[in-house]
Amino acid sequence: MTAKFEPTRRATLAGLSILALSGGQAAFAQTPKKGGTLNFLITNEPNTLMSGTTTATTALTVSGKITEGLLEYTYDIKPKPCLATEWTISPDGLVYTFKLRPNVKFHDGKPFTSADVAYSIDMLKKVHPRGRNTFANVETVETPDPLTAIVKMSKPAPFLIRALAAAESPMVPKHIYEGTDPVTNPNGNAPVGTGPYKFKEWVRGSHVLYERNPNYWNPDLPRIDQMVIKFMPDPGARSVAFENGSGDIGYRTPVALADLDRLKKLPNLVFETDGTSYSYNVSLIQFNLDSQYFKHLKVRQAIAHCIDRALLVKTVMYGYGTVCYSPVAPGLKDFHNPMPTPYNLDFKKAEQLLDEAGFPRGANKIRFKIPMDYNPIGDDGRKTCEFMRATLSRVGITVEVRAQDLPAFAKRVYTDRDFDLTYNGHSNLFDPTVGVQRVYWSKNFKKGVPFSNGSNYNNPKVDKLLEDASVENDPVKRKAMFFEFQKIIIEEVPDITLFQPLYLTIKNKRVHEDSPTADGVEANMSNVWLDS
């Protein structure tokens, strides 16, 4: 299974040998068993069970089991058939033709046809937070017969073929949605789809219960009888659930990092990294380029000279991350520029740059004092800020760590712009146009829009590279554009990318074949089976 990892990640994983040896999908050789209940632990309650109207992680987790996508993806994001069995893209990238799987029925017995595909793509283009961009160039979806959908584009969208996974672009039943507001349609609370599992109940504050769809289009699947998706907000409680066997599986490292060492000693647990390649994140230090300090390139370069990423990953992330200098995560290996930062660890150089920028050491040897905010989603935010406070104190910059909850953080950074320095994270997703462009494109400096260009970075050359790459049909040229873009960002440091977090799926060893695709447990999980 180590063969699946690219060299950069292998380096990280070398220290996690137990994980690589015992984990993963190595169980393919065994004969799958039927029956049983899978207990899937997630952190928070989703607000809908159909992810066509939101991209919240909790919704992505629960959606694909019921509402499937046109395609699935191998670990290196090559498309595989799901609801579409064949697909062709015209050489100019303007016409996509999908042949649909015959004899597929929704859970209410109605057939799945090209009309549903046309409706779904139109809906995603109108209401989905990312679909508005992903499908922006879609002009029409033609349906010459019930099993053929032809998507016609006004301009190429080279990332589109990677966006058709179940959770990202779900195919919904037109007969239930037509003429309604998709956001308030009750189908979100009790979904009907084509998937391997049927909706049974949603007990608010507790769990969602799915049961086996006996009429699934693949007669051999699914294998389990029931799937319980349990909402467990307390990380300690999740650790205990894995420990005592009441929880079978959870993903995106569902326990506190500090608990991992202890849990790894337990014989009944398996730790795997398969099925995490559909979306990579980067964690970064984000500057407000309107700040009186960080508008100076030399100050930003000085900060970059102070950061020991390897030490940060070791201390804050307990080693569960890959050092990264570029805004494009190393996991996106088709696009990641592996060039090192020109700003090596050098406190003397940092001091010199700060002096040159006009911020000499003053009273008490302090140059200036700034607050630092952090995105509170994970427990790494506060620790990174404390790391930065210690580091920057060495060059005479005093950091005051400010804590707030998620909406307060979002308002401070993206609406009020009342910040100097933050620790933040960006999801790169499956393509830089979808996941990275929004952060650096000057036209996406939009007050009030979370995860837009929060630094207020504005470089016409970068804008042009991003815009050209978004419609460039030649993969080689496109990659070159992204490489140049990354080089500029690494040198101009509008933010400082620190690392790509390594997410673990934790599961009981009785669970098999849970993550055969790039999107892992966010996919339909039709193959999963349990030892009796």
């Binding site: 209940t37 207990n39 928070n44 309650e45 607000n47 809908t48 939101t54 991209t55 919240a56 992680t57 909790t58 209401v127 937070p129 990312r130 508005r132 961009n133 956001v183 308030t184 009750p186 979100g188 609370n189 007990v203 608010r204 504050g205 507790s206 769990h207 219960l209 029931q226 319980v228 349990k230 909402f231 467990m232 907000p233 307390d234 300690g236 409680a237 205990v240 659930a241 420990e243 005592n244 009441s246 707030q404 909850d405 998620l406 909406p407 307060a408 953080f409 979002a410 308002k411 401070r412 993206y414 609406t415 999801s427 929004r438 939009k446 009030g448 829009v449 979370p450 995860f451 837009s452």
Partner: protein, 326 residues
Amino acid sequence: MGRRIATTLRRAAIHAGPTVLGIVVLDFLFLQLMPGDAADVMATEAGSATEESMAALRHQFGLDLPLLSQLGNFLDHLAHGSLGYSPRFNTTVLDLILQRLPGTLLLMITALSFALLLGIVLGSVMAAWAGKWPDRLLSVVVLLLYSMPGFWVGLMAVVLFSVKLGWLPNDGSETIGAHLTGFAFLADRLSHLVLPALALASFFVAVYARLVRTSMLEVQRQDFMRTAQAKGLNPFLIQLRHALRNALIPVTTVAGMHLGNLLGGAVVVETLFGWPGMGRLALEAVLARDFSVLLGVLLLSSLLVIVANIAIDLLHAWLDPRIGEA
């Protein structure tokens, strides 16, 4: 007695209206001070947003309206008996709350009953042997319970009973998808209830034990106690009928006030034990800035406290017929 109940109810009704209205309006205004709104939460959770999606979210939550219109809308709904609608959960607030209310009530009543029962027993024992070794020993136990936070007691109980011994589940209110019936169903629910109820009750056990001890000792010195002893009544019956009954007045008063505290404690305990109750709903609503849900929870909680106070008033009338006669 009948007139007494009518008076209590009438007085409570007159008080309840303005109290509830004040709570709702104040809560609504205070909540506006929190930075960020429901649309910010939805967008940050999603990790992606556009100007259009933000505008759509704000419109959906009614956040694009002026503040006073939002308050007016809420009160208008309330006047029509509706708690409003939660766009976040795509369902009515009443539905959300009614799904959670039984869980919280079960947990609270179990915890309160447990705390009262154990507290009264411990307190009586301590009073009966005041100054002797059982009193001293129990005083230490009570002091420990009093000073340990409930969530810590809960955590330690989880470590012992769920992790080490494997006797009790640590999460949820039932075994999901097990389709149990009859005795197995009851046993399953009970086993899930034990740990959270203990965690919630531990602090209150200590409070009631100390309170009962003090009141009992005070009652012992009363004239009627001497009379009862002089009459030659059974000492146990004297303690039960004369001492305890009088000592219960302060205990019930405090227990009534604790109902509000229990609701607050439920937030922590429900989160810790994954118990699907209102406390967690309230916490989630705060974090999600889903104010329609939060206002609904607060409104219902204040009603609950008012109802509890009425019940305590009536209980007092039964325990001591002199109260409220004037």
